[in-house]
């Protein structure tokens, strides 16, 4: 066993209500690291691509990585990989909090869930005490109520027990349901919660075990962890994010046309200043609640100080939830956005998909494509807080009109047809973008359209591109530059998601990441090797997804998503015209077939995936 790892994977069989411990071989970990890499590898080996997401034979892998629970800051992270109901292909989403570290302290690198329970259960892990327990008493509770109930049941403080669970939306099989854990950390994308709901797993409880994480060179790792932390603060947005959280993105994105406003009908949101991270911390009372081993002021609770909602407390939403329940749907009061974000988290739905859905319905209502009669009596005009709250509740419970929306924006738009269809924002794979206006941010646009995971895969935050032999893009609307950068960086983020660390305080410098991994495991890793592993994961995902039906023609945006901004800093930029050229060039640079999008045999061979060549004729 490599140092840094704990050796075992817990495999739950819900059909028989049993579990086994599976040992992870050294070579497997060297090749796939952990987290996302390990999950994708298991999906390929265990789940044929034609398996339906709700087939008991579909598995769900929760795995952490070699740096989780070590001296590296923000190392409580885990990844979830499964076959997701939104795209029908692979789902991969990571979340922070405590679970990644606590799993390792219990002696496990992760867990696999397969089969389908006959009644609601939750999984309980406390070192060698592993149980599949009845969750009938938790059914119907929202995600916060569920966590509080289990915390009380085990008489544990949040820092001694990690609880992740699904909410009513996943119980009702809304396809964009998520896994919510440790009070506000969400594995959100491609219906991970829905898969757990189909297996009748309400929650996963992991106690803070007493087993340490043995690393090869403890002193060296501690020294590098300090350097990593310093490097993350020494970036243009890193310091501000560490002080004020991700809501510092509101003014930045507004100034560059990247803030999504009223379903992309405009790029102007005059109240963006009120949503800035520092403004929120001034308006509300903030209490720090960091993830495992993190000293950033990024996560915490906000309490409303005055007005009709005074005393209301919730986990501070990340930028995306505030944008989804703010500018995207025409709400300009942060208190109301805060309350709606809390509502979505409690119900257990992906805030991005929910935001795009509500925004689309509002535009349809404003334009007369839908009336209050169609919407069960609800007037869904821009910014209508009360009705949005009711509407979201109905979405989670699949009531009335909202039952038609349970498959996400694309499916609902296709069912409704023109002219509503033309207003909807989605990709050909059936996921929506994150809550950004990517028509101004072409890297994210391309990434969202071609990614394998049901969300972005390559981009995310500001990477020091010079470490990858690139210069920063000199023209953000150059399809050639964007395609090249995404192709070179592809693999970096999935590699980081395989290590068990948070991208914010722990993943700025890839050379330091390689040094940390070397110190943790005792095996030498270089930055180049880490990128090869990342690209290996991306290419396996690509090939697997191809066989699920996610062919090249699905790598495309919806009509509204490919429209030109009518105003703001990116006004008139025509991403639709550039997209085909950008995608073709990206395929070429990735070593994928231009027509089918499949990895070419020589690409697979170069990445140590020769055994897959027969799968990619």
């Amino acid at each position: 066993m490599l140092s840094g790892y704990t050796g075992n994977l817990l495999c739950f069989d819900l059909d028989t209500k049993t579990f086994i411990k599976e040992e992870l071989p050294h070579e497997l970990l060297k090749k796939w690291l952990g987290g996302t890499g390990l999950g994708v590898k298991y999906m390929y080996e265990e789940v044929p691509p034609d398996t339906s997401w709700d087939d008991p034979a579909n598995i769900l892998v929760i795995a952490t990585g070699p740096l989780a629970g070590t001296a590296v800051k923000g190392s409580g992270t885990y990844s979830v990989v499964t076959k997701g109901p939104m795209t029908g292909g692979l789902a991969s989403s990571q979340a922070n909090g405590f679970m990644g570290a606590f799993l390792k302290f219990c002696g496990y690198q992760g867990l696999i869930v397969q089969g389908q329970a006959s009644e609601w259960v939750y999984l309980y892990i406390d070192e060698d005490k592993v149980e599949i327990k009845s969750a009938e008493h938790l059914v119907g509770l929202d995600t916060i109520q569920t966590q509080e109930a289990l915390q009380k049941e085990y008489n544990s403080k949040p820092t001694r027990i990690s609880i992740s669970c699904i909410g009513p939306a996943a119980e009702n099989q809304v396809k964009f349901s998520c896994l919510v854990g440790d009070h506000g950390h969400v594995a959100a994308h491609n219906g991970i919660g829905t898969v757990l709901g189909s297996k009748k797993v309400k929650a996963i409880v992991v106690k803070r075990g007493s087993k340490g994480v043995a690393v090869s060179n403890k002193d060296k790792l501690r020294e590098i962890a300090g350097k990593i932390h310093d490097a993350t603060l020494n970036t243009p947005a890193g310091l501000d994010t560490s002080k004020w959280g991700t809501n510092v993105a509101h003014p930045i994105l507004h100034k560059m046309g990247g803030l999504p406003v009223k379903n992309l009908t405009t790029s102007i949101f005059p109240d963006f200043v009120k949503y800035d991270g520092e403004a929120l911390r001034n308006q509300f009372a903030y209490k720090k609640r960091p993830c495992w081993g993190c000293n950033w002021d990024h996560c915490g609770t906000l309490t409303v100080k005055s007005g009709p909602f005074a005393g209301f407390t919730t986990e501070e939403p990340e930028y995306e939830a505030m944008a989804a329940m703010g500018p995207l749907i025409g709400i300009n009061d942060p208190t109301l956005s805060l309350m709606l974000a809390d509502h979505i988290d409690r119900l257990g739905m992906d805030c991005n998909e929910t935001g795009w859905m509500v925004a689309w319905i509002m535009e349809c209502y404003e334009k007369g494509y839908l009336t209050a009669d169609d919407l069960d009596g609800l007037e869904m005009n821009w910014g209508n807080f009360e009705n949005t709250k009711k509407f979201i509740w109905k979405m989670a419970h699949r009531e009335g009109f909202c039952d038609r929306l349970s498959g996400g924006v694309k499916k609902a738009a296709e069912a409704m047809g023109s002219p509503a269809y033309e207003c909807a924002v989605f990709t050909g794979k059936a996921n929506t973008p994150r809550s950004h206006d990517h028509r101004a941010i072409w890297n994210e646009y391309l990434d969202t359209c071609v990614s394998n995971t049901g969300t972005i895969e390559t981009t995310g935050g500001g990477i020091n591109v010079k470490q990858h032999g690139l210069e920063p893009i000199s023209d953000p609307f150059s399809w050639e530059q964007v395609a090249r950068q995404n192709a070179v960086l592809s693999g970096r983020r999935v590699m980081e998601d395989s290590l068990g660390i948070c991208r914010l305080p722990a993943a700025e410098d890839i050379f330091l990441t390689a040094e940390a991994l070397t110190a943790a495991t005792g095996d030498p890793f270089t930055a180049e090797e880490l990128m090869t592993i990342g690209k290996r994961i991306v290419n396996l995902m690509r090939l697997y997804n191809y066989h699920t039906g996610l062919t090249a023609d699905k790598d495309k945006p919806s009509p509204r998503y490919s429209s030109s901004p009518v105003d703001g800093p990116a006004a008139g930029q025509n991403v639709a015209e550039a997209f085909r050229k950008m995608k073709d060039r990206y395929y070429e640079l990735m070593g994928w077939d231009k027509e089918t999008g499949k990895p070419l045999p020589e690409t697979l061979k170069k990445l140590g995936l020769s055994e897959l060549i027969k799968w990619a004729p």
Binding site: P236, V248, G461, N464, D475, P569
Partner: protein
């Protein structure tokens, strides 16, 4: 010639003042980025409210905002 540099948080409560900044005549945004040592990181540059490429030639009185790339995690 003089231009104005605006910090990316200038509009927020953490407002930092616009700075008057001297550049050589016919300077481009690319040269400005080099001078300000911002070349290591991905960025967007907005001039007078519109995104511009590095080859944009600066004019007297231009208001320039250099924005770091932020995106989903």
């Amino acid at each position: 010639m003089f231009i104005y540099l605006e910090d990316y948080l200038a509009a927020g409560p953490n407002a930092r003042e616009r700075k008057k900044h001297e550049v050589k005549d016919c300077s481009t945004l690319g040269e400005l980025i080099e001078e300000l040592d911002y070349k290591k990181y991905e960025h967007f540059i907005v001039v007078n409210g519109l995104i511009k490429p590095h080859h944009y030639q600066l004019n007297e009185g231009d208001l320039v905002t250099i924005l770091p790339v932020v995106s989903g995690g």
